[in-house]
Amino acid sequence: MRGMRPGSQIFLELFRPPIGEEWPEILRSAQDDNFVTRRSRLESGAFPRFELRATYVSIFPMNAEPLCAEVVGSLIAEIVLPRSAAPSTVGAPTIEEETRAEEALDLPWYVVVHNDPVNLMSYVTMVFQRVFGYPRDKAEKHMLEVHHRGRSILWSGMREPAELYVQQLHSYLLLATLEKPS
């Protein structure tokens, strides 16, 4: 809520009535509600904190604008708009094409285990169960695929977990590679 007051003060200044005229009723009540009365109440500790009320927000388009357009124009030009003697050097906006991370466009990576005549079938099955959490049936199916076909794709997906799987398989001394589909 801190920071509301300066903006609100500018707002009410924009709608200051011409000299000799009085504030319209609705602005008077807004001014009263939001700043003068409330500030004194705040200072006196009657209210714990400042809150913006709905009436204040809604008066701009409905009631205030037609009342003092000239004042609004001069104040905006004075307060808001930056002035510069130099010609504008701002060119047309450059629209940057959105680029995605390489991984987002990546095809899945394969974790491949290759046949090895030394490793025991039961050992290889155990490793598949432990590394990938596969049930025994699935682990045996992959082990037999390695044995008969020379290789089996154990897992496919993002590169980072695939690398970790290959590392784990190497720690069990299996012949494992990280491959990208051709």
Partner: protein
């Protein structure tokens, strides 16, 4: 030799000096140093020939970690094998007790030893599958027997640990 599981340990009993010595050889056999073929097998490539950058990173960061892991496993096994220390006479009918807790280290060390021996001797698949090969008449035959003996132990540990 008899092998069975008793509560929280695997017991290898009635070990004759020859088999006891083969067991004592596990840590030394698992060491691939000095044999490029064995080194290449233990620290195999993580890619199928592509991804040079990834392979370089693997060599720098992953291989040392794997080396440490394998060493830890063989050190654990070496500590367990201290039960078999002694002269040849005292090795007769000795019993080796392997606690089930470091069984994973035993599986790893046995696997390392089998892979290193097979790579050093360049055993073919036919040779490795010839389980009835006998008698041991050469160093190569002995190495093949060693691979099969360690394989038998691995199978037993796997079955008993219900992996």
């Amino acid at each position: 030799m008899e092998i069975c599981r008793r509560r929280n340990q695997i017991e290898v009993s009635e070990l004759d000096p020859f088999l006891a010595e083969l067991l004592r050889q596990i840590p030394a056999s698992a060491n691939p140093e000095g044999a490029p073929a064995a080194e290449e097998r233990i620290f195999s490539s993580p890619t199928n020939g592509t991804e040079a950058e990834f392979r370089a990173e693997w060599k720098t960061y992953v291989e040392p970690e794997l080396r440490r892991l394998f060493q830890t496993a063989t050190q654990t096994v070496a500590a367990d094998l201290e039960q078999l220390n002694g002269n040849e006479k005292s090795l007769a009918n000795r019993t080796l007790r392997i606690p089930t807790k470091p069984a994973a280290a035993w599986l790893s060390a046995l696997n390392q030893a089998r892979l290193v021996i097979a790579a050093k001797n360049d055993f073919t698949e036919t040779e490795l599958n010839d389980h009835l090969h006998s008698p041991i008449g050469s160093r190569r035959d002995l190495s093949l027997f060693q691979v099969n003996f360690y394989g038998f132990l691995q199978e037993f540990i796997l079955r008993e640990m219900e992996y």
